[in-house]
């Protein structure tokens, strides 16, 4: 499935902004990811062709940056920061509780901890680096939004309710 006309136009507009078309690759991949949720081999090739770059440039860049996804991700992706400031105020705990509330089995050790709901609509990750929101730790990132000050059970309940709404929306959109 190729990219929508809107995204393709937006990419063309990016290319026009820079003296070197290679510079447009990163913003263009972000645009493509916004539409598709992740960057498949075909999407990478499509973006590279659209800009006029070798496919290898696209795959190198996409795999270099952790926030560009080259493997399929769930529509709702929750990334808990477990770095020092967050960890000191209970981020590990918050992640574990969120998982429990969502009935998610977490795998992996510190640094690779992750899991997903049975319907694959929500993913939990404890793998990311500091998001620069240490002053409102603990925190997690959901899509483009920051959820901060996740200290009490109430905070987590609210978070989970929001996640479920997002999942339901994604599900109905898919149908």
């Amino acid at each position: 499935m190729s990219l929508s006309v809107t995204t393709r136009d937006a990419i063309t507009a990016e290319v026009a902004k820079y003296p070197y078309k290679k510079t447009a690759l990163l913003p263009s991949l972000k645009l493509a990811q916004k539409e598709k949720g992740w960057l498949s081999t075909e999407t990478l090739a499509e973006v590279a062709d659209l800009i006029g770059l070798p496919h290898s440039h696209a795959i190198e860049l996409a795999t270099f940056y952790a926030m560009l996804f080259t493997e399929k991700v769930a529509p709702v992706r929750v990334e808990y920061c477990l770095q020092l400031p967050c960890a000191l105020v209970g981020a590990e705990d918050a992640l574990a509780k969120t998982a429990k509330l969502l009935d998610v089995q977490l795998h992996g050790e510190r640094g690779t901890r992750h899991g997903h709901t049975k319907d694959h609509l929500i993913e939990l990750h404890g793998t990311v680096e500091c998001y620069g929101a240490c002053h409102r730790a603990p925190m997690c990132r959901v899509g483009d939004d920051y959820k901060e000050n996740l200290k009490t059970d109430d905070d987590l309940q609210r978070l989970v309710a929001d996640l479920k709404t997002r999942a339901a929306a994604a599900k109905s959109q898919a149908h």
Binding site: A58, E60, T63
Partner: protein
Amino acid sequence: MTTTASEKKDSPAASSASAAQAAPPSDTVTLTIDGQKVTAKKGTLLVEAARAVKNEIPVFCYHDKLKPVGACRMCLVEIEKMPRLQTACTTPVAEGMVVKTKSDMATGGQNATIALLLANHPLDCPVCDKGGECPLQDNTFAHGVGTSKFEEEKRHKDKAFELSENIVLDRERCILCYRCVRFHDEVPGDRALAVIDRGSHGEIGLASGEQYTSPFQGNVVDICPVGALTSRHYRFRSRPWDLKSQAGIAADDPTGSNVWIDTRDGRVLRLRPRENVDVNDAWIADATRWGTLPAERSERLAQPLVRKGGKLVAVTWFEGLRAAAALVRNHNTGVVATPALTNEAYGVLAEGGLGDAVSVWPRIAATSPQGTLAGLSSSKSVVVVGCDPWSEIPMLAIAVRRALVPFTRDGIATGGGGKLVVIAAENGLARDSAAWLKASGADLARAVADLCDALEGKGGSDAAKKAAAQLTVRPSSLVMGPAFAHEPGNAALVKRLQAALGVVDDKGACAGFSGAVDRYTNARGARELLGDKAALDAASAAGVLGRAGAGALDTVIVVGDVPHCAGFPVDGLGKARAVWLTASLPKDASTKAGAVPDVVDVVLPLAHVYEQGGAFTTLDGRHQGFDAAGIPPSVPGAGPDERAKADWYALALLAAELGRVTPHDLKGLRAVLSTKHAFARIPLNRNKTRTELTVV
């Protein structure tokens, strides 16, 4: 002009100012490396300057034919007045620089780099193909501490990952020097490999799930400084210390790639590029590397075959030659020679008079190209018509690309800046072309005429005008496919295009390259040595096949095998009987159905090119001699005479059998030929090379 150490100590600024006043502006600088004064051209990298005085600074990622990247930190050196260690592979020389490559600080840095690289390296040298010729082993031995403090578990990755049918990648061994990625990026420009992921997760892979189809894959095996990239054709077949390397010339490449032929007990096991900056630099095409390896010696025909009572019977050379001579003596005889024989063989044919006529088959261009491939590589305007060098003669594509994109020599970018216009159906250099006017068959002539119109300012289509606008700078070159150049109707058009491009100046000299490129190894040698005597088109009425087909010949001697087309011109022979000199038959050819065509009465087995001496002439007229590397197939238990023979030797023996005396050894034969032919005066095996490949 050199500044003294005391001057520099007093005031660096003053000393450089006085140096500038005292010396006329020169393009060299003088520096000190390990106490030794070195004068080098401005821009020279430290690692090269040190190499020039035989001071080898250890490297992994640096390769003198690729852009320096400073990725591995192996080349750390101490430079006075600089606070930290510097990478010698990215630091250009400067006036008065004082460099220490063996100080405690420098050695410490080198030790640490080795320790870090080895932390995650699997150290599986006993089962690694590279063992014994591995820069990682060598550098560890020379610059490592010999022990490891790393006690954690090593990282695990793919072990024998098949990148293609030719190449296996061991991702644990890779030290991420990026040489392989840079090679594809810079030399053929096909960006075939990519670095996937980052940091310790980084690994070499293919771009976006694509296939690894580059025709230059084998070169990454040569330049990989560890055993991460290995050749599936050579894996686990030998250890480097059991191999004997002999200088040779590629058996299939009309540009004359220089190779090392690595043999073990006389068997040719592998080919590697032999550095020659004027020919193949340090690269060869995969077709040469793997496509020209001889079949197993014991599996090939070693004895002559003679047809007796309808059946082919193996005989001694004595009998075989007698039977062949009987077919020639008192019979109208013609010779068909392929354009892949050695010059010595053509020499015997030209001098020895084996038949009334000699023809070259398959057909080759009637005239040789003007200019040189070096001229092609330094052209500013290049036009390719009716061929695709990339798929037909890959090393020619590299020569063309050098005119377009800067390449690296001794660490410094050079050349490039030319424009390429291609008029053909296929174009492997599409990404580097200024214009590609797609055309094939009869349309080629039309497209060329269109481009001529545009070049001459007499109109032409918009596409042609755009293309012509790219072709204004001289020198210029013209590369033509033989089929287009052969067409008699195109002769005037070719002249017109040459004139419009200005490939030849008023005095008739060609600074670039111009002509038709045959894809056969020694088409130029055949043309130059047989030209006056032979019809270059065997199938024409005057050619040997034409005459045989018309019933005018009783016997045809066919010499050689032809890669890229049917191996034997069965259809053209009419009622004539044939003698076939060939290197392509299997041991059981006499009984194997279809191996030997019915018209053949005598088969004389030839040695493979890599098992014989001789000389080839490249398509731009460079004569390159070579000695035998491997041992040809022989009959077990029989005398030394009972083996497949060099092409020129078999022909000389046949000439002798017919009473036309020709020297029987290469030296004597060359001495006779040398009075008339320049190639025979070039010593075998003495081609100009700068150095052996220094990295592997």
